[in-house]
């Protein structure tokens, strides 16, 4: 298929004329020509949040558009979320460092749609190429007449801010991102209020993932129908799959949304490394239900994975082959969540740490059967017990790993 977001000709980095020369700006012009059509177009395209949640994009936009601007808070804000710190996810850094203009143009179209005058390009500071590319791009846009047209429509000057995030995983959560953009520590907070009502400096705020916004100029340029047709089956558009783990050709693959797991792993991924048997895939955060060899023919899209009881998440697919311990991997991921819990909620920080200790103990051969019951207890106690979803992710991957690969755990506690 033809790549959209990763097409070689649009990888012009910060060269704005270069972007405009390959069709960039067309989408924004269409948006400016008929601002009221933007949200319906996005809705018709079926675009969903590609940062992991899969929430219909047009509903967020409509919610922010419906809010009155908050003058004390600066009007309205858009936060382009490029915090990306999940294990196995490496798509936003590609877009920001190679094709930042399509992301910024997407944000400008969103600004037109919701009448926002502040755009925060929220980027993980560990991705220095992304930071440089965004800074140069923002300067280029600030001097371009298109931005004036956007400002005219919004009704006030539009500012592009490059905000280096804390670089912490938890900063990707939307209330945490809002706190971080305001200069504070990225502490998540309980919702409601949602950022759409009260976000950055109290102003209505639209948060979208980098990949989500990157699709927007293309949709506005080529139309909703074109976008829908890119997907397979009922799925729409393309998806950046971050493929890693025990495969021959790991990397970023832009494929039709709904590509099967088998095609991703054995086709694009070149099959399993060293001819190992396929065992499982940790998806998304990795905070979701594991996929196993029974799921090889599942379509990797939001609805198909939800029907399976899992989630697409960020599109990260961490493939595990025979010879790799699920228990070990789960221990590593839970340790990641424990280390990245912000500290506000005891259930999250202390609970994930305890799960981590139990997993380490079992993996070290010092576990006992009662530890498995204690772990299962956590899969029931922890979900929903935090201000944000971090603890839920840890609980989900634990529950799934325990349920699907129970025998690995039982063997570890029996022979420990």
């Amino acid at each position: 298929m033809n790549a959209v977001l990763t097409a070689p000709e649009i990888q012009v980095v910060a060269d704005l004329p270069g972007w405009l020369a390959v069709g960039g700006g067309e989408g924004l012009k269409n948006a400016l020509a008929d601002p009221d059509a933007i949200v319906p177009t996005i809705e018709a395209a079926g675009l969903r949040g590609l940062g992991g949640a899969g929430f219909p994009t047009h509903r967020k936009w409509a919610a922010v558009a419906a809010q009155p601007p908050n003058p004390e808070g600066g009007g309205k804000w858009i936060v382009c979320n490029g915090n990306e710190d999940e294990p196995g996810t490496f798509k936003d850094r590609f877009l920001l460092s190679r094709t930042p203009h399509q992301v910024i143009e997407g944000a400008l179209i969103a600004a037109v749609a919701v009448r926002a005058n502040h755009i925060a390009l929220y980027v993980n500071p560990r991705e220095d190429q992304s930071v440089v590319a965004l800074r140069l791009s923002a300067i280029a846009w600030a001097a371009h007449p298109l931005l004036d047209q956007v400002a005219e429509l919004v009704g006030s000057p539009v500012e592009l801010h490059v905000c280096e995030s804390s670089g912490l995983y938890v900063g990707g959560e939307e209330t945490a991102a809002v706190a971080n953009v305001m200069g504070g520590f990225p502490f998540p907070s309980l919702k409601p209020p949602y950022p759409a009502e009260r976000g950055v400096h109290g102003a209505p705020t639209l948060l979208n993932n980098v990949e989500t916004l990157a699709h927007v100029p293309h949709i506005l340029r080529h139309g909703a129908h074109w976008y829908r047709e890119l997907g397979l089956g009922n799925a729409v558009g393309t998806k950046l799959y971050s493929l890693s783990g025990d495969v021959l050709r790991p990397g970023l693959h832009e494929l039709p949304m709904g590509t099967s797991l088998r095609e991703l792993v054995f086709g694009y991924g070149g099959g399993m490394l060293a001819g190992k048997g396929f065992k499982a895939v940790f998806t998304g955060g990795p905070s979701n239900t594991l996929l196993t060899d029974r799921d090889l023919d599942i379509a990797l899209d939001f609805d198909s994975l939800a029907a399976r009881g899992s989630r697409l998440g960020t599109g990260a697919m961490i493939v595990v082959g025979e010879g790799t311990s699920i228990l070990r991997k789960t221990a590593e991921y839970v340790a990641f969540f424990a280390a990245n819990s912000c500290g506000q909620c005891p259930s999250c920080k202390i609970g994930t740490h305890q799960v981590s200790r139990l997993l380490e103990r079992i993996d070290a051969g010092a576990g006992r059967p009662a530890d498995l019951e204690a772990l299962e207890n956590f899969t029931r106690l922890l979900p929903g017990s935090g201000r944000c979803g971090l603890v839920d992710g840890a609980a989900t991957v634990l529950a799934s790993s325990l349920a699907t690969f129970r025998s690995e755990y039982e063997q570890a506690v029996r022979h420990g």
Partner: protein
Amino acid sequence: MATARLVIDGHPIEGEPGTSLLQAWVAAGLPLTENVGCMGQGVCGACRVLVRRPGERLAQTGLACETLVEDGLQVAFINLSRGSRPHPYDLHALGDSWDAIARIDELFPEAERCRHCGGCDSACPKGIQVQQMVNLAAVGQTYAAAELFDDCVQCNLCVAACPEHIDPAHLGQLVRRMTAAMTLRPSDLIMRLHELEAGEQPIDLDAPGARPPAPDAEDAR
């Protein structure tokens, strides 16, 4: 009051009203060899639990010997070893009190990175203002910091709660120990020690008061 039904570490348990989580656990026939110590006085800090009450979003930490059974509780024990020393120091090598206060920073460099999440305060089963102690200690207000930590039972829940690895429980003990070791100089004790060194407090093993007053009737038994 009816029997409370709750779950501890995955085991459905029925607890008599008024009994602690620990008592309910052993009454249910489950083995208890860790996360236990003083068994009710709430001073050893060994029986840490995470407790989620029905209908409540956030879970809370507590001590299992002090937390009573309630219907619908979900409970998990938290094992925290105290046998590690992440911030080692030698109390006797801190120098005099001029240097020692400055050295708190060297010994606990994370303290000034407190992100003010309040997790330590929420985690403390004794209601100590842990974060405030950390902040005071970080700016050298040693005595005020030490006073805040008076009720600490060294359960180490604040250590587990701290995302910056500050080790509040150990920082709290450092400031407490410093204030005692460097400022407490009772005159009566010092005088008595001088007497002892001079051999002025001999003990007479056969003094009249060291002998039973009368032929000890109890011996006849």
